[in-house]
Subunit: 151 residues, 2 copies
DNA sequence: CATGAAAGTCATCACGA
DNA sequence: TCGTGATGACTTTCATG
């Protein structure tokens, strides 16, 4: 992980569909050398995947919410998390510190969709209660900050 | 937005670096036609951008936290949000319902990094207090669910 | 690790249906 | 909107510094 690698990461982070040739020109190296670095970053798991960001409103998902899910502590806690994560409306599922809880990021069509989803969540085994925060406006939404060299 | 468009979106959502030729083969159309559809989806803003997902731990960001920031209500509320969103450690900034607050998704190196960031946040004009939840384990982290046809 | 050459593949455009 | 065909650019591999 040298300066060239971080440069490559920062470019791909913002523009995953750039051609390898242009990427090479930008970092000032031969395309073959750059391709090898990218492959290595992929193999090492530094680059997890390439994804297109889709405007949620354009595909009928106008409502974003964050929901804390309080689960009964014990053996089944992780199972409950897996079931929560398996729901398509759940974009993110984090197991958090504090009283055995999950924090979910949800995307649904509207408040009616949220109500139905919360009902479904409430019926999952191990779920005690939920506490939702509705997003009124999103000011920033990225997946990673600029990469800095880490020796 | 027909079935072909949603098919294209679902493919690019999971693999933004697929070649247009292969994309065309997958959806069963000529490359030129598919390219035109993709360009149109980009122009309409349905596809916002293409990004590489970088493993945060591999670049020295091992700690994820969600932080509610309580701000003083009034004229400067939005300004405060902009300042919060401008911090590189802030991956997401959402203005939420409930007592004038922002919800931030943060990524830092460790608890020391979090402490320093919270101090910086606390000094931003208009910020009253913060309330953080630390992520112990992330079970799922995507940017969008499978796209379904929306007429 | 990087380069440069070579072969196959692809992006892109004009045109006709 | 779509498919075809042409062309220049690109990807990918490999032999070699």
């Amino acid at each position: 992980m040298d300066a060239v690698d971080t440069h490559i990461l920062n470019i791909l982070r913002d523009n995953a569909r750039i051609s390898n040739a242009e990427l090479a020109r930008t970092v000032g190296m031969a395309p073959s050398a750059v391709l090898e670095r990218v492959r290595k970053l992929e193999r090492k798991g530094v680059i997890e995947r390439y994804e297109a960001r889709i405007n949620p409103k354009e595909v009928g998902l106008s409502l974003t919410a964050f929901t804390f899910v309080h689960v009964e502590e014990g053996v089944g806690t992780l199972d409950t998390g897996q079931k929560l994560a398996a729901l398509p409306e759940v974009l993110e599922a984090h197991y958090t510190a504090g009283s055995a809880s999950y924090l979910l990021k949800l995307r649904v069509s509207d408040t009616e969709g949220l109500a139905q989803l919360l009902q479904r969540i409430g019926r999952i085994e191990g779920v005690r209660d939920t506490n939702s925060t509705i997003v009124l406006r999103t000011l920033k939404e990225t997946s990673a900050p600029a990469v800095v060299e880490t020796p």
